[in-house]
C-alpha cells in the first residue's frame, strides 16, 4: 500500500479509519508528508484528533480547538495522534488498518467517557436485546 | 463597530418593535378585533365539538378534559392580548370593543363551566352550557365576518 499514486484530497483526507473488523477508530483529520526522491510527496502517516483537525478549521474555532486540546493533554509537547502509513492495508470507502482498535488504543476522550460515564451505567457491557 | 454587531443591533431593534404594540388606527383596530373573534371562535367551537361528542358518548372522558382546559387557557390569552391593545380614541373603536368584549367574556366563562361540568361528569350541565356557548360562537362568527375576518 506504499507505492500507489492517488489524489490526496479525494481519496484519503476526511475518510473514516477502521480496523480489520470494521470497528471505527477515527477520521483522517490530516496527513504527514515527506519529500520523495523523485520530487513528489509520499504520505508517511495519518494524523488524527483535535490537534490535527483544529488547524483545518477556520479562524477562532480552529485556534480554540487546538488550545483546548493542548490544555487537556498531559503531554508537555502535545502532538496529534499519528498512525504510520505502513499500518494501512486498504483505501476504499474507508481506510483499513492492519491492527485492531484495541491494540492501537482508542482516543483519550473515548477512554475518559467510557470509564467515567458509560461503564457506570448498568448494562453498558451487554449487547442489546 | 463590526458588521456582525450592527446586524445584531438591527435584529434586536426589529424584535423589540414587534413586542411593543403601537396604538393602531381604526382600520387596524377593526382587523385586530376580527382576528380576535376568529381565534375565540376556534376555541369555542373546539370546546363545543368536544362537548357534543362527549354527550353522544363518543369521546373518552380523559380526552375531554385536556381539550377543554386548552380551550379555556387559549381563550384567556386571546382576551388578554386584545385588551392590551390601546384602542384609537374614536367612538367606532369604542363600539367595537363594547361589542366584542362581552362575547369574549361569555365564551370564556362558558368554557370554564364546561370544564367544571366535565370534571364532575355532569352530562346535563354539559348540554345546557353547550347550547348557550353555541349561541355565543355564532355571534363571534358573525362579528368576524362583518368586520372582514
Amino acid at each position: 500500500m506504499t507505492d500507489e499514486t492517488f489524489e490526496l484530497k479525494l481519496r484519503l483526507l476526511d475518510r473514516q479509519v477502521v480496523d480489520p473488523d470494521g470497528a471505527m477508530i477515527c477520521k483522517v483529520d490530516d496527513v504527514e508528508l515527506a519529500r520523495a526522491d523523485d520530487g513528489g510527496f509520499v504520505v508517511t502517516a495519518l494524523l488524527a484528533g483535535p490537534l490535527a483537525l483544529g488547524p483545518r478549521l477556520p479562524g477562532r474555532l480552529g485556534r480554540w480547538t487546538v488550545a483546548l486540546a493542548r490544555r487537556w493533554s498531559e503531554d508537555p509537547e502535545p502532538q496529534p495522534r499519528r498512525i504510520p502509513f505502513e499500518r494501512v492495508t486498504e483505501l476504499g470507502s474507508a481506510v483499513v488498518l492492519d491492527r485492531s482498535r484495541d491494540e492501537l488504543g482508542i482516543a483519550r476522550l473515548e477512554d475518559w467517557m467510557r470509564t467515567h460515564v458509560i461503564e457506570r451505567i448498568p448494562g453498558s457491557r451487554h449487547a442489546s436485546e | 463597530m463590526t458588521r456582525s454587531a450592527l446586524l445584531g443591533i438591527a435584529v434586536c431593534t426589529l424584535a423589540l418593535a414587534g413586542c411593543v404594540a403601537p396604538a393602531p388606527d381604526d382600520a387596524a383596530y377593526e382587523s385586530k378585533a376580527a382576528s380576535t373573534a376568529q381565534a375565540a371562535l376556534s376555541e369555542a367551537r373546539t370546546a363545543l365539538v368536544a362537548a357534543h361528542t362527549s354527550a353522544d358518548d363518543r369521546l373518552l372522558g380523559t380526552y375531554l378534559e385536556p381539550v377543554l382546559v386548552d380551550a379555556e387557557q387559549a381563550l384567556g390569552s386571546v382576551q388578554t392580548t386584545f385588551d392590551s391593545v390601546q384602542p384609537p380614541p374614536t367612538s367606532a373603536a369604542d363600539d367595537l370593543r363594547a361589542a366584542l368584549d362581552p362575547l369574549l367574556q361569555s365564551a370564556a366563562s362558558d368554557v370554564t363551566e364546561l370544564r367544571i361540568a366535565a370534571r364532575r361528569e355532569r352530562t346535563d350541565a354539559l348540554r345546557s352550557t353547550s347550547s348557550h356557548l353555541s349561541g355565543v360562537a355564532d355571534r363571534l362568527e358573525r362579528f368576524a365576518q362583518e368586520h372582514g375576518g
Binding site: 477520521k27 483529520d29 488524527a48 483545518r56 482498535r101 442489546s128 | -
Partner: protein, 409 residues
C-alpha cells in the same frame, strides 16, 4: 416465505414510521385551514423523500458509510462542520417536539398534565435506546404507528363527497380568505414535515446498523417505494379529517387534542383510543429516531465508533452524545414552550436545512468510484437534480415567508 414476510414487515414499518409529530401537526393545521388544497405539497414531499431515502440507503448498503461520514468527506471539515451544526440544531429541536408529543399523547389518555410525563418519557426513550436492538425498536414502533390508519377509517366514516375531495386535490384552489404568502408558508411547513432531514440520517445509518449489503438494495427499494407513499396517504387522511370536521366549524388547530377530535366524531371512543395509541407510537418512535440521529451525525463527522450494533462501552462518545441530546430535549420541553409551536418551527427550520443534507447524498450516489455498478441511473439523476432545485427554492423561501406571515398568523 421468510423473505416475503420480512419484506412485508419492512413495508409495514415504513408506513407506520412515516408519520411523526411534524406530519400530525402540519397536516391537521393545513387541512383545517386550507382544506385539501395543499395535498399536492405532501405528494411532492413524498416523491422527494422516496427518491433521496432510496439513494442514501443504496449508498449506505454499498459503502457501509453513514450520511455524515460522506458529508464531511465531500464538503471538507469546514463546510461539513457548518452543516453538522445546522443539522444537529434542527434534529434536537425536532427531538424536543417529539418528546413533547409523546407527553401530550399521554395527557390525552389520562387527563394528567403533560409536563408531569416528560421525565418519565425521557427515561423510557433512553432505556429503549440503551437496551433494545435496532431492528426490534424499529419494528415495534413502526407496527404500532400503523394505528394511525384509524384516520383513514374516520375519513371513510365521514362519508365525504369523494369526487369533490379528489377534485380539490388535483385542481388545488387557494381559499379566497387566505393570503398567498400564508398559503405558501403552510406549503413550506408541509414540505419540511414530509422531508425532514433526520429521516435520511436515520435511514442510512439504520442500513449500516442492520448490516445491509448490495443484496439488500432491492428490499430497501420495496420498503421505500411502497411504504413511504402509503405513509403519505396517512398524512393526507389526517388533513382530510381536519378539512371535513374542523374547517367548517372555523377551528384552527393549535393542540394535539384538536388533531384527534375528528376521529372521535367519526368513529367514537374505540377509534379515539386507537388514534391516541397511534400518536404515542408515532412520536415515541420518532423520538428514538431523532435521538439516535443526533448521535449518528456527530459521531460520523468525527469518526467515532457509533451504532447500536456494538455494546455501549464500545461506543462511549456516541452514547454520551445521545444522552446529552436527550437532556437538552427534556430541558426544552420543561421550559413549558408549547410543543405544538416547537413542532411548527422545527418543520420550517427542517425545510431551511434540507439542501445541506440532500446535496451531498446526490453527489455521492453519482460517484462511480464509490458506487461501482450501483451508481445513480439517468432517471435517478434527472429526478434528483430537479428535486434539489425544488429543495433549494423552498429553503430560500422559507425564512422570508415566515417573517412575512408572522409564522402563519
Amino acid at each position: 416465505m421468510k423473505r416475503i414476510l420480512s419484506i412485508f414487515l419492512g413495508v409495514l414499518t415504513a408506513i407506520g414510521g412515516f408519520v411523526d409529530i411534524g406530519d400530525l401537526v402540519a397536516n391537521a393545521l393545513a387541512g383545517a385551514r386550507f382544506g385539501l388544497s395543499l395535498v399536492w405539497v405532501t405528494a411532492l414531499g413524498v416523491v422527494g423523500i422516496c427518491l433521496f431515502a432510496e439513494m442514501s440507503g443504496r449508498v449506505a448498503a454499498v459503502t457501509r458509510r453513514g450520511t455524515f461520514d460522506l458529508i464531511r468527506e465531500r464538503l471538507g471539515p469546514r463546510a461539513g462542520l457548518l452543516n453538522l451544526a445546522a443539522s444537529v440544531l434542527v434534529t434536537v429541536l425536532t427531538f424536543t417536539a417529539e418528546i413533547g408529543g409523546v407527553a401530550l399523547a399521554l395527557e390525552l389518555a389520562t387527563s394528567v398534565n403533560y409536563l408531569l410525563f416528560v421525565p418519565v418519557v425521557g427515561f423510557a426513550v433512553w432505556l429503549v435506546i440503551w437496551r433494545l436492538t435496532f431492528s426490534l425498536l424499529e419494528d415495534v414502533f413502526g407496527l404500532l404507528g400503523l394505528a394511525l390508519i384509524v384516520f383513514a377509517v374516520a375519513l371513510w366514516q365521514l362519508n365525504p363527497d369523494w369526487g369533490g375531495l379528489l377534485h380539490a386535490i388535483v385542481a388545488p384552489h387557494k381559499p379566497a380568505s387566505e393570503d398567498l404568502s400564508t398559503y405558501l408558508y403552510y406549503g413550506v411547513a408541509l414540505f419540511g414535515a414530509a422531508m425532514t432531514p433526520y429521516e435520511v440520517f436515520f435511514f442510512s445509518s439504520g442500513a449500516v446498523e442492520e448490516r445491509w449489503t448490495a443484496k439488500d438494495i432491492a428490499t430497501s427499494r420495496v420498503n421505500v417505494f411502497i411504504g413511504f407513499p402509503l405513509g403519505g396517504l396517512l398524512s393526507v387522511a389526517i388533513a382530510g379529517c381536519a378539512a371535513l370536521v374542523l374547517m367548517p366549524q372555523g377551528i384552527e388547530v393549535a393542540t394535539l387534542g384538536q388533531v384527534g377530535l375528528p376521529v372521535a366524531v367519526a368513529v367514537g371512543k374505540l377509534g379515539l383510543a386507537v388514534a391516541i395509541l397511534g400518536f404515542f407510537a408515532a412520536t415515541f418512535g420518532a423520538a428514538l429516531e431523532t435521538g439516535l440521529s443526533t448521535g449518528y451525525s456527530i459521531a460520523q463527522y468525527f469518526g467515532w465508533q457509533w451504532g447500536k450494533f456494538v455494546r455501549p462501552r464500545r461506543a462511549a462518545r456516541f452514547h454520551v452524545v445521545v444522552l446529552l441530546a436527550l437532556i437538552a430535549a427534556i430541558a426544552g420541553v420543561l421550559t413549558t414552550a408549547d410543543p405544538i409551536k416547537v413542532t411548527e418551527y422545527s418543520i420550517v427550520f427542517s425545510a431551511v436545512a434540507l439542501p445541506l443534507t440532500y446535496f451531498p447524498i446526490l453527489v455521492v450516489a453519482n460517484d462511480p468510484v464509490y458506487m461501482g455498478e450501483h451508481v445513480n441511473g439517468r432517471l435517478a439523476n434527472v429526478l434528483g437534480t430537479v428535486f434539489l432545485g425544488v429543495i433549494v427554492v423552498v429553503a430560500l423561501a422559507s425564512i422570508p415567508l415566515m417573517l412575512l406571515t408572522a409564522a402563519g398568523q
